[in-house]
């Protein structure tokens, strides 16, 4: 499958590699400092060396398989952070709504469940976007992601009515549209995954 | 007042885990039983954190619960893979 985005040149890939390296090392080092909380030189040095070593070791993990085009960096650095930051409060609100609905169904004496499996398709180029969409579906009203193949999502709905959140009669549901708007618009330096 | 509440909360977590055995023991398929690991795992994290808050040593207990969360997550995945391959759900 060809990459949707324009393939970056060797030069920009080198640059992306360096940015990724620095970003992951500093993220790990900050994580170490939060964990350890010690400012003695010995612990800071051990932390820095460990962060560096893990970044080097984890380097192949964060490259997507090169069999479909060239390798791309799968880094948290790439995310469209401003839009993600706007998305998260909305997601949390949806989770709260979902849980109140779940509580009402579960505590209802008649247990009004009517499960149903639906499928829909949605293309999101960024892998983290797919993760976000699938996990958002799992966390929000009455739906769980059962399977995800290529672009096809299989959703288990607790009640038929809940399917409206992800698949609408005309066009796409609220959730895929929202996640697609967050992740899909900007061409990010990632390709499709096998 | 806070400590009374924390003690109550610890009691509630233990109650929740005990009630959950009502699903783990009869559970028709093996996956129903595995949900027990998921739920009891999350409850155990909360349990450890509440004990830490009661003990005024939350820092130490946070470390423990983090290790527990990580190990529980991976163990769950390994079990899921094992049973997916085996393919018999009525054990």
């Amino acid at each position: 499958m060809a990459a949707k985005t324009t393939a970056p040149s060797t030069h920009s890939r080198k640059r992306a590699e360096i940015v990724h390296f620095v970003f992951l090392t500093s993220a790990l080092f900050v994580f170490w400092f939060i964990l350890s909380g010690k400012t003695e030189a010995r612990y800071l040095i051990i932390g820095f060396v460990t962060a560096l070593a893990i970044t080097v070791a984890a380097r192949p993990l964060l490259i997507l398989p090169p069999d479909q085009g060239r390798p791309y960096w799968l880094s948290l650095w790439d995310l469209p952070w401003p839009r993600v930051a706007l998305y998260i409060p909305w997601l949390i609100w949806q989770i709260i709504v979902a849980n109140i609905q779940m509580a009402m169904i579960i505590l209802h004496p008649k247990l009004p469940v009517d499960p149903k499996v639906v499928q829909f398709r949605k293309h999101i180029s960024h892998p983290v976007g797919r993760l976000a969409l699938a996990n958002s579906i799992t966390l929000t009203p009455g739906t769980i992601t059962l399977d995800l193949e290529e672009d096809g999502y299989t959703i288990h709905c607790l009640q038929g009515g809940f399917a409206g959140g992800v698949v609408a009669e005309d066009g796409e549901g609220v959730m895929p549209a929202k996640v697609g708007a967050v992740f899909g618009v900007e061409p990010v330096s990632t390709t499709r995954q096998d | 007042m806070y400590y009374v509440f924390l003690a109550l909360a610890v009691g509630l977590v233990i109650l929740s885990v005990i009630v959950f055995f009502g699903r783990v023991i009869p559970g028709p398929s093996v996956f129903d039983r595995l949900t027990g690991i998921l739920v009891i795992g999350t409850n155990a994290i909360i349990f450890l954190l509440l004990l830490g808050a009661m003990d005024e040593r939350l820092g130490m207990y946070v470390d423990m619960s983090m290790a527990y969360a990580a190990i529980g997550f991976i163990t769950l995945l390994v079990l899921g893979k094992y049973f997916e391959r085996k393919g018999d759900v009525d054990r």
Binding site: S36, L61, R130 | A70, L77
Partner: protein, 146 residues
């Protein structure tokens, strides 16, 4: 662990979780004498991180250690443990008596370093054993180590 496992969701999630899991394992190892844990927990965490990678990616895993590699790692860990444990004999100490080792200025420092070395040995041993166990457990039917 030949076939890969999980869908794209797991495949994306584990890539971001693994480095932090490894770092947490090293933290538990280094700060073992301040909080809970130490060698065994650190070994479990590091080993499970490798198991996660092998399990999700199958044969194409980047960190493929496998059964023989795990056994070598475990033996190496035991060797380190024994070497550091027996080293004090040379300077006239007891087994695991690191205070006499000439590796630091004060006996207390030497003891701290010795404990770190011992814990590293334990970590490697546990890590190797866990990798071997999970590799055998999640192996497909009739599959053999080549």
């Amino acid at each position: 662990m030949r076939k890969s496992f999980g869908s794209i969701i797991l495949n994306v999630a584990f890539r971001h979780l693994t480095p932090f899991l490894m770092l947490y394992g090293v933290y538990v190892l280094v700060h073992g004498h301040y909080g809970p844990g130490g060698g065994f927990q650190a070994g479990a965490l590091l080993g499970l991180a490798v198991v996660l990678v092998q399990m999700v990616q199958g044969t194409r895993a980047e960190w493929r250690i496998g059964v023989s590699g795990g056994i070598i790692l475990a033996c190496l860990g035991a060797l380190i443990y024994l070497a550091i444990g027996l080293a004090p004999f040379i300077w006239g100490g007891n087994f695991l008596d690191y205070g006499v080792l000439p590796i630091a200025a004060t006996p207390a420092e030497a003891r701290a370093l010795g404990i770190l070395g011992i814990e590293t040995g334990v970590t490697m041993g546990v890590m190797g054993v866990i990798i071997v166990m999970f590799d055998l457990l999640t192996r497909d039917n009739g599959e053999r180590e080549e």
